[in-house]
Amino acid sequence: MIELLKQPWPWYIAGPLIGLTVPALLLMGNKSFGISSSLRHICAWCMPANIPFFKYDWKKEAWNLFFVFGIFLGGFITTYVLPNPSPMEVDPRLVHELAAYGITDYNHLIPEDIMNWQALLTLKGFILMAVGGFLVGFGTRYAGGCTSGHAIMGLSNLQWPSLIATICFMIGGFMMANLILPFILSL
């Protein structure tokens, strides 16, 4: 059983489990699933700087911070209790493409070849991690939610603004992965 759990879980197991987070949070305390809000609460908590957007009682949203801390712990627990014994299996076309940029390590969920502390000091690493992270934080808040708040929670509740947001997430992602990322990875 444990050996089976250590293997990567198929989409038809993982997807419904992720979807069940929506009713779980609603039933626990009428909480709407959303993760990027946690970044806002952290701003409101640590650096509100008299900005109206961060002047609210973030403690009433503290559940969200417990939730994301749980996600962190979940990652930690899985790595030590249920580690995948073999490297990740990725589409051969992607392997071929990434090899050209020197990315060959598939033992981690992030590409260790280009995402590590030394790489952070290179232009490529800085753009991928620091600039990329900035766009994630800025964009999700501007859009009013991320993959969880819009794509999963919003679509579950049949909200058409969330459909627009989700389509835009995908357009942005396709543009970056296919048109811009090759230049960044070549740096």
């Binding site: 992720i18 930690f76 990725v90 992270g133």
Partner: protein, 166 residues
């Protein structure tokens, strides 16, 4: 996520925020929040085991090289839709007996501009906000920088919010 504009309370809040400590959490029965921590842990485990938080899986998704991510997001949405429909249809209450209401999302142009910007970042970092926390948990410590950048991005959005088209 409604804004509470109680000036007096906000003033007190900011005084405490300045040192970034929250001594009053115990008075708020903080342990009630532990149930969300447990859901988060389970959620994080699914995230890692299904490789949703993998930079490589996100790259596959945006190159249409794998069905995996589409299957996960699609089946998660269908599951969520059925659950929300059932909750509304049978007027299900929370475990504390409170009514469940879900705030509707209002359209503004931010969903387009912000959505595109987030999409760019998503394909670069290979992570949306949830996976960032899980990636750090798996031992990818450098992703702390990505998370801090994301918090900075959120802050900068808040700073320029009034000037941005919505």
């Amino acid at each position: 996520m409604q804004q509470h504009r109680d000036t007096e309370k906000d003033l007190q809040l900011r005084k405490m925020d300045a040192s970034c400590v929250n001594e009053s959490r115990l008075e708020h029965k903080w342990y009630h929040n532990l149930k969300y921590l447990i859901i988060g842990v389970l959620f994080g485990i699914v995230f890692v085991k299904s490789e949703v938080i993998s930079w490589f899986r996100i790259q596959e998704m945006f190159r249409l090289q794998s069905f995996h991510m589409y299957g996960i997001i699609g089946s998660a949405v269908v599951t969520g839709m059925i659950a929300v429909w059932l909750i509304k249809k049978f007027n299900v209450k929370t475990i504390n007996g409170d009514p469940i209401d879900i705030a509707p999302k209002k359209f503004n142009k931010g969903q387009i501009y912000g959505g595109l910007i987030f999409g760019l970042g998503w394909a670069m970092t290979g992570a949306c906000p949830g996976p960032l926390f899980a990636q750090i948990g798996t031992g990818a410590t450098v992703i702390v920088i990505t998370l801090l950048s994301a918090i900075a991005g959120t802050w900068v959005y808040g700073f320029f919010r009034e000037k941005l088209p919505h």
